[in-house]
């Protein structure tokens, strides 16, 4: 461990502890209604980037995992204790990701994008069909005594977990393997890396996180129905936030999630018809003007500053 990493390991939890006091501020209800989406998107975008960053596979499956999580919550809410549901959702998310991954990740990126593009919609169709024929009702009520503040804390905890997992993967053999795969898959295969397995494992991590977020967010909806739980827009939002922030750094997606979530909330409440246009323009801007994301821009400044400072001293 380098000194930088130790400092990070201390500073990041401290930052999270400070953030955890947000609900105790006066007038916190308004703040929370902004902080919860930001925290949610940060978790989703960071876990998305853990997989998509090094591998360059654009996953649009987030909404599918999220919806599965929300339905796990709705189905077993009255039967099982809450922590068990979280665990089950994580397992289901990971297994689902494994199945999708094994079918598509052996092939080139285009196949994967296309497959995940429709995954949420397909899962929704299957759910609706199943519920129409075997399950009785379409929607589910989720009545819990989980408060907004508790959801926020859970998301914060998940955020911390995502950072720890991402940091740990970055140091592990798996992280090293995945960086080689991202740089050149052929080289990776020739140096004895089991490429498909590494990619699937990483995809499972991001799938499990998205499913757990689905469980955590479910009580906010109160009433869950397929069109809402499996909204494909979520996948795109997560992808654009992560890309906007920069996917080559663990802290990059955070830089994208905060501004984009704020702008999104503003547009969605003031000009609801124009949200799609905003998303489209955001995609174009990111590709043409900030291909390395905000993180890349910040790093560029940092290096310039450092270079300028170095000249003064030397």
């Amino acid at each position: 461990m380098t000194r930088k990493e130790i400092i990070g390991l201390i500073l990041v939890p401290v930052a999270f502890i400070i953030l955890a006091f947000l609900p105790s501020l006066p007038n916190s209800a308004n703040l929370l209604s902004l902080a919860i989406p930001i925290a949610m998107f940060t978790v989703l975008a960071t876990s998305w980037a853990i997989f998509s960053g090094p591998t360059h596979y654009i996953s649009l499956a987030t909404a599918a995992f999220y919806g599965v999580g929300a339905y796990t919550m709705a189905t077993w809410l009255d039967v099982l204790p809450y922590p068990v549901i979280l665990l089950i959702a994580a397992v289901i998310g990971a297994v689902f990701a494994a199945v999708v991954g094994f079918a598509t990740l052996r092939l080139s990126g285009v196949y994967f994008v296309i497959f995940t593009l429709g995954l949420a919609e397909m899962t929704r169709q299957v759910f609706v069909w199943y519920q129409n024929n075997f399950g009785g009702t379409r929607g589910h009520y989720v009545f819990t005594d989980i408060t907004e503040a508790q959801i926020y804390w859970q998301l914060l905890a998940l955020g911390l977990l995502v950072y720890l997992v991402g940091w740990w993967i970055g140091r592990s053999r798996l992280g090293f393997a995945i960086r080689i795969i991202g740089a050149d898959e052929l080289v990776a295969r020739h140096s004895g890396i089991h490429t498909a397995r590494s990619k699937v494992l990483l995809f499972m991590v991001s799938g499990a996180f998205a499913a757990v977020v689905g469980v955590v967010m479910a009580p906010r909806f109160v009433y869950i129905e397929p069109a809402m739980a499996f909204n494909p827009q979520l996948s795109f939002l997560v992808a654009i936030m992560a890309l906007l922030g920069g996917i080559h750094r663990l802290w990059g997606p955070l830089m994208g999630a905060i501004p984009f979530a704020l702008v999104w909330e503003f547009i969605a409440s003031n000009f609801p018809a124009q949200t799609i246009l905003l998303m489209g323009i955001a995609f174009l801007v990111v590709v043409y003007y900030i291909p390395n994301g905000v993180a890349g821009v910040v790093e560029g400044w940092y290096h310039k500053l450092k270079a300028a400072g170095g000249e003064k001293h030397g």
């Binding site: 429709g118 299957v126 124009q274 246009l277 489209g280 174009l284 590709v287 043409y288």
Partner: protein, 288 residues
């Protein structure tokens, strides 16, 4: 029998969209995820011609085809070619072009929403039934199918039996080698992309005569076209046509016999089978 024919009619129209995408992906190497929006644009044009001008919607082809051709040529020239030049690897180009065409797709949907609003559109054109093999089918579907067949046939003939078609196929096989035999790869790619877009918009005109559509329906067709292109093998027109018919049939069978809500799921099931067993496409050869 009725299911079979309905399925084939549907497949014929899918084929034309997929052929458009296949040209764009096979020759210009751009996976155009905004192809569905070209289709919706065509559908809106036909709708406008029919309702506002009270003309036969097929008249809209007069300006839809050249219009879509020019728009797609501009898109390729100014949005995508810089990416082709910038990309260091094929993978980088893939990611960039996917993101850009997604952005394009959303931007277009946003514009459609502002111009036309979010409601559903349909109009009744030639909706009298016609009798075939003892069952009734809408005349509009039959006509759309016939036009699709003609267009696919012309395209197939052009690609396989003319010199300019040959240069297109050459670029699709290997752009570097094609430039060695004095083919202007950039020009051919731009042309293929523009032509693909024009064909997709034509598909939209055909679809609008018998299907209800709205501003955001494009992505559904993009997805189906993508599945067909991969099923048929990238850049393979013949494969795309066969795959489109297979998809049309499967969807119709599932919709009639199991549940109409499961059409996409059935398309996905086909897609999964292809990915697992023949990722190189129905007629493709395995690459080493």
């Amino acid at each position: 029998m009725q299911i079979l024919i309905t399925g084939i009619f549907l497949g014929g129209v899918y084929a034309i969209i997929a052929v458009g995408l296949s040209l764009q992906y096979g020759v210009a190497r751009i996976m155009n995820l905004a192809v569905g929006e070209m289709l919706v644009a065509g559908a809106f044009a036909a709708f406008w011609v029919y309702t506002a001008q009270s003309l036969n919607p097929y008249w809209s082809l007069l300006f839809v085809v050249p219009g879509a051709f020019i728009v797609n040529w501009l898109i390729y020239r100014f949005l995508l070619q810089p990416l082709v030049r910038r990309a260091k690897t094929r993978g980088q180009l893939e990611v960039d072009s996917i993101l850009v065409t997604f952005g394009l797709s959303f931007t277009l949907v946003g514009i459609f929403l502002i111009v036309f609003g979010g409601q559903f559109f349909n109009y009744s054109f030639m909706s009298r039934p016609v009798e075939l093999f003892g069952s009734r089918y809408g005349q509009n579907r039959v006509l759309a199918f016939c036009i699709a067949v003609v267009i696919c046939g012309l395209l197939w003939y052009w690609l396989n039996y003319t010199r300019s078609g040959l240069s297109l196929r050459a670029v699709s096989v290997d752009p570097k080698a094609a430039s060695l035999v004095a083919i202007d790869v950039n020009k051919v790619s731009a042309f293929a992309f523009a032509l693909g877009g024009a064909i997709a918009a034509t598909g939209g005109v055909l679809l609008s005569t018998f299907l209800t559509f709205d501003a955001s329906v494009g992505v559904v067709f993009t997805m189906k076209a993508l599945i067909i292109v991969i099923m048929g093998g990238v850049g393979d027109i013949r494969g795309a046509i066969v795959a489109a018919l297979v998809l049309g049939l499967t969807e119709t069978i599932v919709a009639r016999l199991i549940d109409p809500g499961l059409t996409l799921a059935s398309a996905y099931f086909l897609f999964l089978l292809i990915l697992l067993f023949r990722p190189q496409g129905l007629f493709g050869r395995r690459t080493t």
